[in-house]
Structure formats: structure tokens, C-alpha cells
């Protein structure tokens, strides 16, 4: 502790250099946190997924529907505590660029399967009792300025035409990662508006299982029921389903990681250079300290500690900046990341990275300082 003042004083020796170095490290870590948040935002849906919920869909393609008649048979499978169903609507609001999720869901079972969708009781009742009603997520309501009672027109792409839905509720998500950017409306309303040949076809079944560890067994049982029919199913946990999508974006995550590494490495090179330059100026001072009796090890720690302190300062600045800039901000990158926020783990990781950078960049100067022979250094001056 008493040495901290010495270390700090040394950093203030060349203020401009110290500030430049701290800022460049801050920049590197700001970028690192941002890129990492892109990755964690992609995974937000994984964090929010319900471990006791399975997704059942057509085995061959997302595009093919399943018969409504499957519901009863699925409900009888061992371990199944509830079944609901819905169709991905895939429409847009006003303009093809405004795309977000819409699901036509079975009202009678929806809330049982989706406890994380939170609604006022009055709104729930209103939603249930009106066929053309819908509930919208808080995020969507905020983005488009929708209020209860508004009639919003959704242009269908899979189910063509303009569909008018009345907002009867604005739901909030149970956790910070729960999606709040979806519209849910009545499946019956969709179904009865379709031509006969397209009626009673379900896009996706949601299955509630009694406990999470029954997931694998229940999935296999459901699929076994239909595997030889003309519409076989594929059942998996919600997490696995989301992960499948993420894996398609997957490579981009790897690329972002590569980017992040390149950035950190580049800045570290710069920092090493700076530390080495700084060290060269201090040989006589190191010699003086050793003359006074500072041991080799202490001097090594002081010089290394300086680099570490610089890096931690830069790291705190960069990570802190990222957290503040993206905290509760409206930044969604055009709707890609409804929930772009910097996780505590990301900040922690950033600080660790800064610490590692500090140790590595200070290594050479510190070791050199430790090894310095007083007599050699002093002979230049005295």
C-alpha cells in the first residue's frame, strides 16, 4: 500500500504518455465489451429459455405444419404436464422493414405454458374474451407508441392480407432476458379466416414437462408417436431449438471473437512498446532505489505493478464506458438485438483481460529492472 504512491507518482511522470496509454487500453476494452455483448445478445434467447418447455415441429422443415389432431396424443405422453400450440405468423407492420415476431396462439393453454409473460389480470381477461384482440410486448409498445385499445394492422406474408388486431394488453417479461417484442393473438381467429385446405394446421407445439430432467425421455416419446406417419415430428428443448438458430448465425460469432482478439492483441503491442520506452528512461532511478536497499524483487514488482495499474485503469474506463453507453439505451442495431446490454460477466471478463494485458506488457521492463546491476547503471552517471 505504501508503495502505491511511488507507483502513481511514476505514472504521473509522463502525463501525456500515461493518458494516451490508458485511453488506448480503454478503447480496446470498450470494443471488446461491445463485441462480446453482440455475442451475448445473440444468446439472450438461450438464457431466457425455459428448461421445462419442449418444442415440437415438423421433422423435415420449419415450413411444414403439423395436424391439430396431434395435440391430444401428445398430451398423453408420460411426463407431459401441458400442451399448447401456435403458428408463426411472419408478418410486418406498415413496412417490410418492421419485422418482429407474431404468434397466433391457443388462448386456453397459452398462459399455462408461458408463465414468463406477465399481464395485468384485467388485460388478460380482455385478451381472452375478444377474438380479434392481441397482446404486445413492452418493447414493441414503446417502439411504435402503441396503447391499449389501438387497432394495429399487420400485413401477412405467409397468411396474406391485412389483419387488424386490437391491443388489449401490454405484457412484460419475467426476467431481463425475456423477449418483450412479440405480438400474440388468437389462433382461432387465424384458423377460421383460412381456406378449408389450410385449416387446422399447427406450426409448432409447446409442451410443458413435469420436470426438466424428463426432457430427453419425453422428447423421444413424442417423436416415436409420429415417426412413421407422413408428418413426423422433431421434439427438443426450447434451448436446443434456439441454439439451432444461433448456430446458423454461429460463424459470425466466431468471426467477432477473432475480431476481438485482434483488437486486444494490437493494443497490447502498443502498450508493450510504451512500457519499454518508459523503462529505458528510468535506469538510473531504478539503480538509486536499489542502492537504497530496494531488493530486485521489489523493484520488479514496482515496475510490473505500474503496468498493471495502467491497464486496470484503462480497463475500468473502457468497460465502464461500455456499460454506461449501452445501459438501458435504445440501441438495438435496427431491431437485431432487442436487449443490447452489457452483462456483468462481460465486464468481469474485460477486467481480467486488462489485468492480463497489464502483466504481459510490463513483463519485459519489470524483469529488466529486476536484473539491473547497480554498478553498471551508475557508472554512466557518476
Amino acid at each position: 500500500m505504501k508503495f502505491v504512491r511511488l507507483v502513481l507518482a511514476n505514472l504521473m511522470r509522463a502525463k501525456r504518455r500515461t493518458f494516451l496509454t490508458v485511453f488506448s487500453i480503454a478503447i480496446a476494452l470498450f470494443l471488446f465489451c461491445t463485441l462480446r455483448t453482440v455475442i451475448t445478445s445473440f444468446e439472450a434467447s438461450l438464457r431466457a429459455s425455459n428448461a421445462s418447455r419442449l418444442i415440437v415441429r415438423h421433422a423435415s422443415s420449419l415450413v411444414f405444419p403439423l395436424p391439430l389432431s396431434y395435440k391430444e396424443r401428445i398430451a398423453q405422453v408420460a411426463g407431459v404436464a401441458g400442451v399448447s400450440y401456435g403458428n408463426w405468423f411472419g408478418g410486418y407492420y406498415q413496412n417490410p422493414k418492421n419485422q418482429f415476431a407474431q404468434f397466433a396462439v391457443d388462448i386456453s393453454t397459452f398462459f399455462d405454458l408461458f408463465p414468463e409473460v406477465l399481464l395485468q389480470p384485467a388485460e388478460k381477461d380482455a385478451f381472452r374474451s375478444e377474438r380479434t384482440a392481441c397482446i404486445v410486448g413492452r418493447g414493441l409498445a414503446k417502439k411504435y407508441g402503441w396503447k391499449i385499445g389501438d387497432q394495429i394492422p399487420i400485413i401477412g406474408t405467409i397468411f396474406p392480407g391485412e389483419w387488424r388486431l386490437t391491443v388489449r394488453g401490454i405484457y412484460a417479461g419475467e426476467t431481463r432476458d425475456t423477449d418483450e417484442n412479440t405480438i400474440f393473438f388468437h389462433w382461432d381467429y387465424l384458423n377460421e379466416s383460412l381456406p378449408d385446405v389450410r385449416k387446422n394446421q399447427v406450426g409448432i407445439y409447446w409442451v410443458k414437462i413435469a420436470s426438466a430432467d424428463m426432457a430427453a425421455a419425453a422428447s423421444r416419446s413424442v417423436d416415436a408417436l409420429f415417426e412413421n406417419s407422413s408428418q413426423p415430428t422433431k421434439t427438443e428443448t426450447e434451448k436446443a431449438f434456439q441454439a439451432g438458430f444461433i448456430s446458423m448465425i454461429g460463424n459470425v460469432q466466431l468471426l467477432l471473437s477473432i475480431l476481438g482478439s485482434a483488437i486486444v492483441f494490437a493494443i497490447m503491442l502498443v502498450t508493450i512498446n510504451t512500457m519499454m520506452m518508459a523503462a529505458r528512461e528510468r535506469t538510473t532511478e531504478i539503480a538509486i532505489l536499489k542502492t537504497i536497499g530496494f531488493t530486485d524483487r521489489l523493484v520488479l514488482l514496482l515496475v510490473g505493478g505500474e503496468a498493471l495499474l495502467l491497464s486496470l485503469l484503462g480497463g475500468a474506463l473502457g468497460c465502464g464506458l461500455a456499460a454506461i453507453v449501452f445501459h438501458e439505451s435504445d440501441f438495438t442495431a435496427g431491431g437485431f438485438f432487442p436487449n443490447f446490454r452489457v452483462l456483468p460477466e462481460t465486464i468481469g471478463l474485460g477486467l481480467v483481460l486488462a489485468a492480463v494485458m497489464g502483466v504481459l506488457s510490463g513483463l519485459v521492463p519489470a524483469v529488466q529492472a529486476g536484473r539491473l546491476k547497480i554498478a553498471n547503471a551508475l557508472r554512466k552517471v557518476v
Binding site: L6, M12, R13, I292, G293, T295, V382
Partner: protein, 228 residues
């Protein structure tokens, strides 16, 4: 501290050879020296005679190629690097020709440096620093940076730093070499006081005969050997 015959410093047949690339440069060639506790010794000699080298050996900054250096009861050659550092912190105060204060620290912070190696508390350290600065009559400049001090003042701060940990031995390498006559006299008077009032043993390298006059004993070093 001192040996039975009152010697604080004993050098026996000390040799020092420097190696530059493949060339060997002998600097000290069989030096024998005794310094008694409480003595003020001046070490004189022409340029290149090895005075500074000898000083470095006594202060434990360098090790002899051959021979024994005993200071304050320890044979310095036998000490491992870390123990040597600790020994030095406890026993030696070094004063350089070019003050060598750390520019980013205030006078008081510079003086405090040797105390950082002890287990004294913050308050204890501050008290000692105050005392040391009072001794060199610079108590009122304690929070000034070296660049705000004159040459003489800087050297006095350096002396304060050298004595603040109450070392057994004070070693000075051309302490007045860079000062004008007036400042030089001040410094030498201070050193004399430290020797007489605080009983500090002082070994001083100088090429100035007037400075040497202030010491008890003067020895001459020429071509690596002490003149008889």
C-alpha cells in the same frame, strides 16, 4: 557492529576486475583498508584510480572479484542478492555526486523512500522524515519538488534521505563535486556535524583537498592500490 578492534569496515586483499567484451580491466589490485567506527575518512586519488569502485564495494553495491569485504560484521561476498539488499537498507546511506533525487516525488517523499522498506507505520515514517529534514535545515521545503530546489538544497535532501533510516555507515561519492564553493562548504559542515554529533561513520570520495581536510583520515588510491 564493529569488530573487536573497533573496525567497522575491513578490506582484505580486495581485487576488482571489469570485463568489457573480451578485455579485462583491473581496477583494484589488492586493497587493504580498515575504517574505525565513528571515523570520517576521505578517499582521494586521480581520475580512474578506482575510488568509486572501492566505495561501491564497501556499500555492498558491487562485489569484489577476489578478497574479502567485511562491513558491520558481515562478509559482504557471502550474502545472497536479496539479503545484501536488505543489509544495505539497514546499514548504508549513500550520497551521490548528482543528488539523484526522484523528480516525481517531493522532498519529503524522497526522504521517506528508505523508510518504505521498514515496518514503521505511516505516522512513524512522517515523524522521522520531519526529523531528518530539520537536521539538514529544510523542514519548510518538504513538499517541494526537486526542480524547485537549488543544487545545494537538493544535496541536503539527499543527505536527509541517506540518514533517515539511521544507517550504520554513510558513504558519499564526490558529494560537493557539482556545487559552488559556498554550497560545498555548507555540505561539508553538515557532514562534519553528522560525524561529530551523531557519531556517524563517514567514508567520502573526493578529489578536492579542502574537502579532505575536514575528514579525520585521508587515504590515497592510485592505479588500484592504496598508497602506503
Amino acid at each position: 557492529m564493529a569488530s573487536e578492534n573497533g573496525n567497522l569496515v575491513e578490506l582484505r586483499d580486495v581485487h576488482k576486475i571489469y570485463r568489457r567484451d573480451r578485455i579485462e580491466i583491473p581496477v583494484l589490485q589488492g586493497v587493504n583498508l580498515n575504517v574505525k567506527q565513528g571515523e570520517f575518512l576521505a578517499l582521494m586519488g586521480p581520475s580512474g584510480s578506482g575510488k568509486s569502485t572501492l566505495l561501491n564495494l564497501i556499500a555492498g553495491i558491487d562485489l569484489p572479484t577476489k578478497g574479502e569485504v567485511r562491513v558491520a560484521g558481515e562478509s559482504l561476498g557471502t550474502l545472497a542478492s536479496e539479503r545484501l539488499s536488505r543489509w544495505r537498507a539497514r546499514h548504508v546511506g549513500f550520497i551521490f555526486q548528482l543528488y539523484n533525487l526522484i523528480p516525481v516525488l517531493t522532498a519529503a517523499q524522497n526522504v521517506e523512500l528508505p523508510l518504505l522498506l521498514t515496518r514503521l507505520s505511516g505516522k512513524e515514517r512522517r515523524d522521522r522524515v520531519k526529523l531528518a529534514l530539520e537536521l539538514v535545515s529544510l523542514a519548510d521545503r518538504d513538499n517541494h519538488y526537486p526542480r524547485m530546489l537549488s543544487g545545494g538544497e537538493e544535496q541536503r535532501v539527499a543527505i536527509a534521505r541517506a540518514i533517515v533510516a539511521d544507517p550504520t555507515l554513510l558513504v558519499a561519492d564526490e558529494p560537493t563535486g557539482d556545487l559552488d564553493a559556498k554550497n560545498a562548504t555548507e555540505i561539508l559542515t553538515l557532514l562534519k556535524r553528522l560525524n561529530e554529533e551523531l557519531k556517524k561513520t563517514i567514508i567520502m570520495v573526493t578529489h578536492d583537498p579542502h574537502a579532505a581536510e575536514r575528514a579525520h583520515v585521508t587515504v590515497h588510491l592510485d592505479k588500484g592500490v592504496l598508497a602506503p
